[in-house]
Symmetry: C2
Subunit: 204 residues, 2 copies
Amino acid sequence: MDKYIITIGRQFGSGGRSIGQKIAEKLDIHFYDKELISIAAKESGTDPEIFKDVDEKAANSLLYSLSTGMYGFGSGFSAMGDLPVNDKLYLLQHKIIKEIAEKESCVIVGRCADYVLRENPDCVNIFIYADMAFRKEQSVKKHGIDEARAEHIINKTDKSRANYYSFYSGQKWGMAENYDLCINSSKLSEDKIVDLIIDYIKAR
Amino acid sequence: MDKYIITIGRQFGSGGRSIGQKIAEKLDIHFYDKELISIAAKESGTDPEIFKDVDEKAANSLLYSLSTGMYGFGSGFSAMGDLPVNDKLYLLQHKIIKEIAEKESCVIVGRCADYVLRENPDCVNIFIYADMAFRKEQSVKKHGIDEARAEHIINKTDKSRANYYSFYSGQKWGMAENYDLCINSSKLSEDKIVDLIIDYIKAR
């Protein structure tokens, strides 16, 4: 492959983001994760803090959206009408992901990028997951999460990611068949996983 | 890894069996797929044809089992009482898989081997799947299936495998997190997939 858009879906605490960063560094290509929020905020003239709260979360129900004032708020979204802010962020990120994929090789983490780019032949879709014990350990070490609450936060975050993915793609998050390659990151060192993925891309 | 039991779950038409065979040849280890039926038949003194009909199929309902005479038939199963023949085959294969895994490195295809060996640290669990167009083409070419019926047969076989897996393991067939490595076989040549899996095993 001459050009490749590597999308990475990941369970919380699996190290998927870090693996994506290392792949981008080794291949000398751009890395997009929370960067997509900043771009979306800039393009729409919105406070990035508003987007951070709803990033990778499926739209709330109409009633909840109304009660929290998250419905139809900004003039920067005039073209999108009165959609909930989650949907607006999804649509903005959808557009940005498509534009990025047109112009450069890169790594994109989360945000249904595999689904957004499903017709793009340059796409390599990866899913990173891990055993719960490993994810708990990583959550404490890397994210500073209290050990007693780690499993609860992992399950809650993954449930939210699964809902987001299913809501916008109509597919089940974490089903192997939605990706090209899925790797359990608790069975191999991070560096070896990075090498394995790069070897895979070279073999394509 | 010095010893490794490679289990392969596979969608129908994905080439998982053939990939498993090539891995076994390259690593010079035994390959078990339908061979497990012959061993189970021999050990229990049962006609292999009886087992072939229920291989990798979840137990039928009591009523159906009674109506088809598949309930409590053989003297060779005396220790298992009056279980349906599907359950008897599952239990026999379960025992055989555990015995094989104790004594040698090998490749085992299907039959919930990943679940049966879930406590075995020498286990590497792989899932092979592919795009529908590829699987249809392979079904016609390799299995001589009529093109018009290929998709129907693929879906029916996979539904049966998914039921079998879920019935005995309580897990969802094809969910990435049940395996160490999942590969879409329509994106890479069979030989490259074999090499990738062998590289993965060497890296462990």
